[in-house]
Symmetry: C2
Subunit: 153 residues, 2 copies
DNA sequence: CCGATCAAGTTACAATTGTAACCATTGATT
DNA sequence: AATCAATGGTTACAATTGTAACTTGATCGG
């Protein structure tokens, strides 16, 4: 087979490798909360951010999870309709809305956290501890890239 | 702030880290071929797979790049309409279609490959060689996970 | 105080995507 | 041969998403 051009080896191309990995892993995890709670990815992410960090604005959720603001807006709307979060206007700056989980939201969150921990340990149990530390080191390196955070999505 | 539940630390949760990384890097790279060639992600991926591997069926592209078959179907259709690939039926099994880049398709591919190499070396230039090797080692570890390939998307 | 400008968040609309149903073809079974 | 299940690939339709425009409110310079 004659190829008169230098090919790109996809298996060595970072965006390709990352998105292939991310898609299969995220999809796998999504099956859990999709089936059991009827949630989608933006909803789960917003819930997770609020559960971990307590009280946030939509913009802060955007920045933290690197999601487009319309995604966040819709996720927040949906979580609020389910009664899982409360919105509270800032009195000083009435454009800003603080978001916080309700007790019901916290209960859902707790259940999903259990799922997440289980999922993570299933994955980690297939790695040796040195492999695990390599993976963590690599992720930290990649997360330092200036690319991250530059995008408004 | 009283949180009466054990939180999940998103910054340590693999699906979260991977998708945040993947989305920002892929988006960054996508800007190039989107602006210059009006291509979307599935189109670029199909082109890249064909450019590298020569002649493939749609199903093979699905497996290789972990994309849903409808995505691939549409990407192939679009590439074919631009005259960048040719479809050829298998005579033995007339369900199967072999796909192959045309000379014009190969020219586009070559240009995009140059972009890709440049993109990759920009990223790699910000890492030391030991960091780079850590990243590659980690990606190989993650790619061995049995999760990959289990999904039909 | 008034207009200009900018930020937070929403929404309308178009494009992209996933699910499920569908053809067309093949292979296996009877 | 006739039927049935399985496979490669497409398509209709609904859900999800991104872009751009918008609303509301704050700020800043005159």
């Amino acid at each position: 087979m004659n190829k008169a051009y230098a090919p790109l080896i996809l298996e060595q191309f970072l965006p390709f490798r990352l998105s292939r990995l991310s898609e299969s892993i995220s999809l796998k995890f999504a099956q859990h909360y999709k089936r059991e709670y009827g949630m989608n990815r933006p909803e789960w992410r917003a819930l997770a951010a609020l559960g971990q960090l307590g009280m946030l604005t939509s913009t802060q959720i955007c920045q933290h999870s690197n999601m487009h603001k319309t995604k966040v807006s819709r996720a927040v709307q949906s979580l609020s309709q389910r009664g899982w979060l409360l919105r509270k206007r800032d009195d000083r700056d009435r454009r800003i809305e603080y978001l916080q989980l309700t007790p019901m939201g916290k209960r859902r969150y707790t259940k999903l956290v259990a799922l997440a921990h289980q999922f993570q340990s299933e994955i980690e149990s297939t790695m040796s501890s040195s492999e695990l530390s390599t993976v963590n080191k690599a992720l930290r390196i990649l997360e330092k890239l200036e690319i991250n955070g530059t995008s408004t999505q």
